[in-house]
């Protein structure tokens, strides 16, 4: 049984008197432990879709099944890592990682053990007592990852998590994310603008078509051995294919915006 089964007839937002139809006929399944990347032109509804999967937005037509049950509200088993991260500035690195556990009433001793484990996994033990404004952007990224992983969710929903980083920090995190994914066997849905990133990380890549009213346009499987790097030969070939699909969609977006 797939861990996530998505069948959304349509999703729209109310927008001054009218409704804005974001996407329709989005249908796909994600297997347990699969790493799926979503790419698509800006505004096609990737963030919107992740919010639906997380249970943060129930207003859509259709249905999303998580382990066979209809998604109805949030559940700490499907955790989102937002693009803005949203680390709590009033807590230290360690307290941020412990936040969800504390809310789940995990006993203090167990909480401390889990925190230490993930602090080490993301290599931040030295900074555990720093406040969020005292650490670098890449470190923040890793704290957000650790905060989500510490909750031991079955599904991680990641929204362009590496977009604000420089190339070197990103390369390191690609490595790290693949390693962590290898250890923890999480199911990951990963949204990105960066096709290379998608091919480097994903088992499968879903391409959205251009807005308005986006659909799923194509799906690519990536069977390359891991760990992969951005420069690997196989990666570059697949990037070209995906990019071909995406480019025509991006062009449509611009045509639509500039010559409607």
């Amino acid at each position: 049984m797939p861990i996530l089964k998505v069948d959304i007839a349509s999703k729209s937002y109310p927008a001054n008197a009218e409704t804005l139809l974001v996407f329709e006929k989005i249908r796909f399944e994600i297997g347990r432990g699969e790493f799926v990347c979503l790419v698509g032109p800006s505004g096609c509804g990737k963030t919107t879709l992740l919010n639906i999967l997380a249970g943060l937005d129930p207003r859509y037509e259709g249905e999303v099944l998580f382990k066979g049950r209809r998604v109805d509200g949030c559940d700490a088993d499907r955790l989102m890592i937002f693009q803005e991260l949203g680390l709590f500035p009033w807590l230290t690195v360690r307290e941020n990682i412990a936040f969800g556990l504390k809310c789940k009433k995990v006993p203090a001793a167990k909480r401390a053990r889990i925190c230490s484990e993930y602090l080490h996994m993301v290599d931040l033990a030295r900074f555990q007592d720093s406040y969020i404004h005292e650490i670098s952007a890449g470190m923040k990224q890793r704290v957000a990852l650790a905060r989500a992983l510490a909750m031991d969710p079955e599904v991680l929903l990641m929204d362009e998590p590496f977009s604000s980083l420089d190339a070197q920090a990103r390369d390191l995190l690609y490595e790290e994310l693949q390693r962590i994914w290898g250890i923890t066997k999480k199911t990951i849905v990963f949204v990105t603008h960066n096709v290379r990133e998608a091919v480097c990380l994903g088992d499968r890549i879903l391409v959205f078509s251009a807005p308005p009213v986006a659909r799923l346009k194509a799906s690519f499987s990536v069977g390359l051995p891991r760990p992969r790097t951005i420069e690997a030969n196989g990666v570059i070939d697949i990037v070209k294919c995906v990019f071909g699909e995406l480019k025509s969609e991006i062009r449509k977006t611009y045509d639509h915006e500039f010559h409607p």
Partner: protein, 258 residues
């Protein structure tokens, strides 16, 4: 750092106040008014010392602070609940919101006639005025502070399965803490003003009463001395208590000092 602080803050301040006192003394020497209308710095200083020596000022401060703390705590409790309700319920916000705004614009002294009818010339009516003078301002700033936190924090809390009072306690309040402190500071100022206005009105002991006593005894030195005490307390609380608290929080949150 300390020498820098002395040079940049203490020295200019000392110069300024010396000049002020000198200017004042010059006006006294020029005899712009008789001494029972225009006091001299020396006489005010003597009256100040006398007030503290005969303990009347200490007593006044104590009485005033007891009222202030009682009234302000009540205002915080009630305002906190009202603010949380405004946040929680759209209907309450739409209906009671305008009323609370209206009540907030009402100058606190306008509550006094009502207070006198309800509580008479008593401790109760002054505390009532203090509460009424600050509770609505506190409600509004609390509500605004909680409402304007970045939505991402709320989404993260919800996503992690936090809801209800836990969400308020673990996410809303810490996220809004810098603006909550600002609200606290502002409401404190309202409470302080309401208190003194209330105390002026009858034989109530407290600082406002001391001020009025000075006038009734035609003791202008006493009047100015009490004014200085009131000002000093205001500055002390605002800068040292709230200012310090705010600075500590803003530093921890990585915000610029306001």
């Amino acid at each position: 750092m300390t020498t820098n602080f002395i040079r940049s803050r203490i020295v200019p301040c000392a110069l300024f106040y010396t000049a002020l006192l000198l200017g004042w003394q010059v006006l006294v020497v020029l005899r712009i008014g008789p001494s029972y209308i225009f006091p001299s710095p020396l006489n005010v200083a003597l009256s100040l010392a006398e007030g503290f020596r005969d303990r009347s000022f200490w007593f006044g401060i104590l009485v005033s602070f007891r009222r202030l703390l009682t009234g302000f705590s009540l205002a915080i409790a009630v305002g906190g609940v009202l603010g949380a309700l405004l946040l929680k319920s759209r209907t309450f916000e739409k209906t009671a919101g305008s009323l609370i705004l209206g009540l907030q614009t009402l100058p606190s002294i306008c509550w006094f006639p009502l207070a006198l009818v309800w509580f008479g010339l008593s401790e109760g009516s002054i505390i009532f005025v203090v509460v009424m003078g600050s509770v609505f301002s506190f409600t509004m700033t609390i509500h605004a502070g909680l409402k304007n936190i970045p939505p991402i924090y709320v989404n993260i809390g919800r996503n992690m399965g936090v809801r209800g009072p836990a969400l308020l306690w673990d996410v809303f309040i810490p996220a809004a803490l810098p603006s909550l402190l600002l609200g606290l500071r502002q409401s404190w100022a309202f409470a302080w003003r309401s208190l003194l206005a209330g105390e002026l009105l009858f034989n109530s002991q407290g600082l406002g009463f001391l001020l009025n006593m000075g006038r009734e005894l035609n003791d202008i030195n006493r009047v100015v001395a009490v004014m200085l005490v009131i000002m000093a307390i205001g500055v002390f609380i605002d800068k040292l208590v709230f200012g310090r608290m705010e600075l500590a929080v803003r530093t921890r949150y990585g915000l610029k000092p306001s």
